[in-house]
Symmetry: D2
Subunit: 135 residues, 4 copies
């Protein structure tokens, strides 16, 4: 299995009054990482939407292990697996410099084309070096 990784940094407004990143913002980090991954693979989320291909999140499961605080840097890592029409992105946030696991999540995505979940050849072709398929 091959991973995609990118380094990101907490913006202070993403922290809440507890002084730690608010739990919802990890879904934002995850989305930004998936879209960066897509670009690395040569496709733009924005272009897909304009072609009426809508990747949508069907399920998100997040486990929070440790907190991130203002200005901290972290690795955001993902791998992707396909099962039928579903793409499962396994994502992790690792605080730098020690790479301490902060959040782990599985995001299930399907592509809506013409109003229904459909096989997405653009994804299959673009992700071919990364994807693990279990049909």
């Amino acid at each position: 299995m091959r991973y995609f990784e990118t380094v990101m940094k907490v913006r202070d407004y993403e922290c809440d009054a507890q002084g730690i990143v608010n739990n919802a913002n990890y879904l934002h980090y995850f989305e930004a990482t998936r879209h960066d991954f897509m670009e690395e693979c040569g496709i733009y989320f924005r272009d897909m939407t304009e072609q009426n291909i809508f990747p949508v999140v069907r399920n998100a499961n997040l486990s929070y292990k440790n907190s991130l605080r203002g200005s901290e840097r972290f690795v955001s890592r993902l791998s992707v697996e396909r099962q039928g029409l579903k793409y499962f992105f396994r994502q992790e946030i690792l605080r730098l410099p020690e790479k301490i696991l902060c959040v782990r999540g599985v995001i299930e995505v399907v592509c809506i084309i013409g109003g229904r979940a459909s096989r997405c050849e653009i994804f299959d072709e673009a992700f071919r070096d990364y994807i693990v398929a279990k049909d």
Copy 2:
């Protein structure tokens, strides 16, 4: 001059590590209030976008006087004035129960129709009970 008012409440995630509402979120409160005002006047922001009429913010000037903290309730008040193609929304956030002024702002909006700033009859008609025009 006639005011539109609505009561809102701080959501805790809108506060940052200082324990107060992050300054950017007042623009969110202002936008939500303008859109509620539009609905009160019978128009939906979403519908305008679908008709290719795009109200856009050209300028925003905010003065921060006092802070809001988690769970506090506040009045969000606006009045509107038109000068040529520009709509000036004068907006205030007043902390309850004492109605202490927290933020005051002036938001300049124009309507983009067919790619250029245009006179917006939908606004003029909808806001007729509120608007002050200075042509």
Copy 3:
């Protein structure tokens, strides 16, 4: 089992370029609902933090069924169950007026007191009319 319900409304800035509420914002709606529920029960999230009692989310599992769009109103409903030190908030977002299920989630919360997950008497007392305990 007893439910807590509140009515909320989509703010347009919560939608993304697909024209639907971005998936991360449902965690915001869920958090705002839990905090409103706490207030209904007589406790303020902000006060707990100031007493060094930190309710934290350990796990969030969200299933997205239908989308919300700009300005739509919805019911946000929760019930709560305790298992040992863990509180499970079962939460749903139901689009009005038809009460169509949009998102269902289970949010696992523990209270960190003095640096470790602890039994939270404030919660147990406050939620006594709602909570289902499975020790």
Copy 4:
């Protein structure tokens, strides 16, 4: 006058249903840039808060010239001037690759120490290579 610059990229969730970055998010970009600038100068916003020095925004004036769309890259540039107790951050967002001006803003910041606006030696020392003082 010396500028601080950093390159950032639009995250898709920062766009709203118009398909462009929501106007409030530019205040987020501006804040993130000021905090990166502070780090470049050797100080952390988070540390200041922990020392009970609270930099707060008193006024924000933003002019919106052109829009940013999903995934676009931009330069965020600032310069800083001090007038008495007030720090004026002049900030610009320039879309890449052409460096087209999207938003220009002036953010007035004061430091609250012991409950009142105070001269902030930490800022003066840290920003000494950048600051223009007009006493």
